[in-house]
């Protein structure tokens, strides 16, 4: 007979499984029912394809349920009153339900009698279903669920691209100049709004505290479709100069700081030394996009925003082809696509570029807000999902194995029951009831696990997940995971059910007579499952291994600084530049005098904490033409900064206080090599920004530093004296001689004396900053390692199960061999061959698959290739070792057997 297509075979199997639940009197005609199911499935496939098969299965299920519910009291006569010609042996409804109840009771008893099997099966399921549901929940929420704004599909995040800056940053934020032109001319948008970050000390309503906030265009809240809880949100009119001293505050600030004062509207509050009138409060739980969420993936652990002020763009804020400083949010007109919106902006961008010069180019990048907000977390989440999917598969495979090996042990029990009169269908139903019971209980445990895991992920995950407060357990995800496991267990449960019930049907209590070479097909399935399990474990282990080596390599990256025994803090006053500079000088002076301070410096941006200010560098005598002038990362520093943070001076000298007003700069080695290749840049001069800006002399070259992050190669960096080019905030780095804790208190006290109105300074260790910069990666690594470890453990259990089962089956044979003179080594070889064969097959498949899986995580790797030989070797070694242990235990038991006992076994 030619093989039928798989949907027919699968459909027949499922159909027969369903039919096993028919009440007893139908079941007596099981051959008829089988023939019925087979033909129905085949014909459905021929006429209506896959859908037809599904329809047949659904109808069958309905029919079974109906038959169970009414028993077989199928009347011939439609009217209930007339005497039915035949009463038959109709079974009362109670009895039918009673049969089901007795199935369940028996299943409970059986499971309670096998606590080992039950515990492993339940744990396996809880782990698999729970972790899958949890990860699906997080991923679904971050990547797929609509944002909580009106018509979120029309919201986009806009960035810009300048080809000549692309080598440093292919995606720039938006320049105010361009934004103003878009607003005037764009036809594709209902609203366009800018977002910038603000912050400062709030000194109204209690002790001064630091608050974070946003500067947003007046139409920002309107674009998002938000309404105020109290008062009003910002409107376009608030952008007019002179009318912009208004502020909207967060619900949290309103409650915590102002005790939810209903009269808050109209009250004036002081932030960063300036007074603003509160116009409204944002509703509770509403998060609005922050500047960092509108730009390319960057890690942002800053506090949630507490206030929003109008962002006023004046002509003095507009610079042509520079100062790409703002996040930009757009609401497209109804019916406009992202591509159309981009095309609309591109026309304006082209005009701007032409007005800037012949060789200039400028592009707009438009992305759905949803994608942009989730993009930071996407790579990490995909890796986690992959790991979880692998574990779910392993769980299914393992469960199948457990069920298979358990069924072998119950052959005698079933034979007894068959001999006592149980029909084949009844036995099959019993087995399936047990399987389903385990699956349902395990899935419920999985739900509990998922709830716990989601909270654990939310509390600990430094994934930069947006909108965390919206996440709740995802019912569809749980249903999906439960369905996968349920389906697996039912299909797998069907294999032994079928086999056992068939065997039981021909009564055979003399189990021993068939013990040699029996169960071959069951053994083959088990071995296949073990291969699959090992393959999945190998693939996930390889991915974990690649991430691990990436992490190790990343931690070995020379940061360019010496971070130990350095503490950092920030301080500042609300004053014009001169006041700020004077204050900074006073802090430097006072802190330098503290005992235990060996070096001290200030900067506006520490290493590893993101991009500094970007600006075009123009060097008239450099090697580059005007079109290639690069963007550099410029940071303002004090002379002591380099010593404090441990950046080495390579040539020339550092910035000195004596430089006064004469523009000088220290440049990084990369800057020197890029702009003045092959020549000594000291003594050369450059301009930063436009051609009207002053010439700056290069006085020294310092070592490269990973300014933005460890992954990102050091960008060309220029250090300027803070009194010549002040950029806030002022961050102070203090290198201490001994334990930094000793200096911390003195430092805090000093700062408090200098700014008594400010909140107590927050002091952190520079080490912690370095750590935080790899936190996300460390988390991904830990999760993947965790799942890989579970995978290996489950695979080990699987191998053990199969080997132990086959050894148990062959006890008599092994005893015979040993009685005939086989040594322990011989027996060990016999057992190992049985166990390690499928492992080898699985390992080969898994390592091959890992090459593919590696492609998925390529973006997360650092310093390792996808086909890293050492990782692959280590994984192969680890899995083989685990398999050896799994084989060794049963083998030892076999060789310790007394041959005479073994021969008498069974």
């Amino acid at each position: 007979m030619s093989r039928q297509p798989w949907p027919i075979r699968a459909g027949r199997l499922i159909g027969r499984l369903i039919a096993a639940w028919y009440p007893r009197s139908i079941e007596a005609r099981s051959a008829d029912v089988e023939a019925f199911v087979d033909e129905a499935v085949e014909r459905a496939w021929q006429t209506r394809g896959f859908r037809g098969v599904l329809v047949v299965a659904a109808r069958l299920l309905r029919d079974v349920i109906a038959a169970r519910a009414r028993g077989l009291a199928l009347p011939i006569t439609a009217s209930g009153s007339s005497q039915p010609p035949d009463t038959g042996n109709s079974k009362p409804r109670v009895l039918v339900l009673g049969e089901l109840a007795s199935d369940l009771r028996y299943a409970f008893r059986r499971l309670a009698h096998a606590p080992g099997f039950t515990a492993v099966a339940l744990l396996t399921l809880a782990l698999g279903v729970g972790s899958t549901t949890a990860m699906f929940t997080v991923a679904d929420d971050v990547l797929l669920k609509p944002l909580p704004y009106g018509r979120p599909d029309r919201l986009v995040a806009i960035q810009e691209n300048v080809p000549k800056f692309a080598s440093i940053s292919p995606e720039l934020e938006v320049a105010a100049y361009d934004f103003v032109r878009w607003r005037e001319r764009s036809k594709a948008f209902d609203e366009l709004a800018l977002v910038a970050t603000a912050g400062g000390v709030l000194s109204t309503g209690g002790d001064p505290i630091s608050v974070a906030g946003g500067l947003v265009s007046g139409n920002f809240f309107g674009a998002l479709g938000l309404r105020a809880e109290v008062g009003r949100l910002l409107v376009a009119d608030d952008e007019r100069p002179g009318h912009d001293d208004v502020v909207v505050i967060s619900h949290a600030l309103w409650v915590n700081r102002f005790s939810a004062d209903p009269g808050i509207v109209g009250r004036r509050i002081v932030i960063a030394g300036r007074s603003y009138g509160v116009v409204g409060v944002l509703p509770a739980g509403v998060e609005v996009p922050r500047q960092s969420e509108l730009q390319s993936p960057v890690f942002d652990d800053s506090a949630a925003s507490d206030f929003w002020r109008p962002l006023v763009i004046t002509p003095s804020d507009e610079f042509l082809m520079t100062e790409f400083d703002y996040g930009c949010l757009g609401r497209m007109k109804p019916g406009v696509t992202v591509a159309q919106a981009r095309a609309d902006l591109e026309i304006i961008e082209g005009d701007i570029a032409r007005s800037a010069g012949e060789h200039e180019a400028l592009h707009a990048i438009v992305r759905p807000l949803q994608a942009q907000a989730g993009s930071r977390a996407r790579d990490g989440l995909i890796v986690l999902l992959g790991a979880v999917a692998a574990v779910l598969l392993i769980v299914c495979v393992n469960l199948s194995n457990l069920l298979l090996s358990r069924s072998v042990g119950r052959r005698r029990e079933f034979a007894v029951r068959a001999a006592l009169g149980a029909s084949a269908g009844r036995l099959a139903r019993q087995l399936l009831t047990e399987t389903l019971l385990v699956a349902v209980a395990g899935s419920s445990l999985g739900f509990a696990t998922a709830t716990w895991a989601v909270h654990a992920v939310l509390l600990t995950a430094p994934l930069g997940l947006p909108h965390l407060n919206r996440i709740g357990i995802d019912a569809p995800a749980w249903i999906f995971a439960s369905f996968v496991t349920l389906a697996t267990t039912v299909v797998v449960g069907a294999l032994p059910a079928r086999r056992l019930s068939r065997e039981a049907a021909r009564p055979a209590l003399a189990d021993g007579a068939r013990s040699v070479g029996d169960g071959i097909s069951g053994g083959r399935v088990s071995r296949l499952l073990v291969s699959a399990e090992v393959a999945l474990s190998a693939a996930s282990l390889v991915v974990a291994g690649l991430l691990l080596s990436s992490f190790v390599r990343l931690m070995r990256v020379d940061t360019g600084i010496v971070a130990d025994r350095v503490i950092i803090t920030s301080a500042g006053v609300n004053a014009p530049a001169e006041g700020q500079i004077a204050f900074d000088r006073r802090v430097l002076e006072a802190v330098r005098a503290l005992p235990g301070v060996t070096a001290l410096g200030l900067t506006n941006k520490l290493p590893l904490s993101g991009e500094g200010g970007n600006n075009g560098l123009h060097a008239a005598d450099g090697a580059m033409g005007p079109d290639d002038w690069p963007t550099v990362d410029y940071r303002s520093v004090s002379p002591g900064y380099f010593d404090a943070i441990g950046i080495p001076l390579l040539r020339g000298r550092l910035i000195q206080d004596t430089d006064g007003a004469h523009p000088v700069a220290v440049i990084s080695a990369t800057t020197a090599a890029r702009i003045w290749p092959g020549i000594d840049p000291i003594g050369h001069a450059f301009q930063l920004g436009g051609s009207e800006s002053p010439l700056i002399d290069v006085v020294g070259i310092v070592g490269d530093v990973h300014g933005a992050s460890l992954q990102k190669a050091p960008s060309p960096t220029v250090y300027l004296p803070f009194w010549q080019r002040l950029r806030s905030p002022s961050v102070f780095a203090v290198r201490t001689a001994g334990d930094p804790a000793a200096v911390e208190i003195a430092l805090q006290k000093t700062l408090h004396q200098l700014q008594p109105d400010a909140p107590l300074a927050r002091i952190r260790a520079m080490d912690a900053l370095v750590d935080a910069s790899v936190a996300e990666r460390r988390f991904q690594l830990e999760v993947v390692l965790f799942f890989a470890a579970i995978g290996v453990l489950l695979a080990g259990i699987g191998v053990y199960g199969v080997v132990a089962q086959s050894v148990a089956r062959r006890t008599r044979e092994i005893g015979l061999r040993m009685a005939l003179g086989a040594t322990r080594a011989d027996v060990w070889r016999l057992v190992a061959r049985q166990g390690l064969g499928p492992v080898a097959v699985g390992l080969a498949a898994g390592l091959a698959g890992a090459v593919g899986a590696g492609q998925v995580v390529r973006g997360l790797l650092f310093g390792v290739t996808v086909t890293d030989v050492r990782t692959f070797g280590a994984v192969a070694g680890a899995l083989t070792a685990a398999a050896f242990v799994a084989c060794y235990l049963p083998a030892r038991r076999a060789t310790r057997l007394d041959p005479t006992t073994a021969l008498r076994s069974e």
Partner: protein, 116 residues
């Protein structure tokens, strides 16, 4: 052998029973064959699942409306059913009963004479 019961004592029939009788009226069929004939005759409106079909067939066999035929050579998996003389009478009686009802409905202009 007990006397044959009056065919009219079975009336009215349930839909499933009448459909099975109709399906067997022109030829002997096996289980799925009956279900298929019913589905085709009703243009897919009525689907008899094994539970309904065999449950009903068991009762109909006991009542003497249908009987199992000898297995056909080379087809021992399927079992064929045929109409007994009583079954045919019951089917006729039900058809007459229904025809009478339809005539009544027609007299009240509830359905038209020609099929749409």
């Amino acid at each position: 052998m007990p006397p044959r019961p009056d065919a009219r004592s079975f009336l009215p029939l349930t839909a499933a029973v009448f459909h099975i009788l109709l399906a067997l009226a022109d030829e002997d069929r096996h289980g799925y064959g009956i279900a298929r004939e019913v589905a085709e005759a009703t243009r897919g409106d009525v689907h008899l699942g094994p539970g309904t079909l065999y449950g009903t067939l068991v009762r109909m066999t006991k009542a003497g409306l249908v009987a199992e035929t000898e297995p056909r050579p080379g087809d021992d998996r399927r079992r064929y059913f045929r109409l007994t003389p009583l079954g045919r009478e019951v089917a006729k009686a039900e058809a007459h009963r229904l025809a009478g009802l339809v005539g009544l409905a027609r007299g009240k202009s509830l359905i038209s004479r020609s099929r749409p």
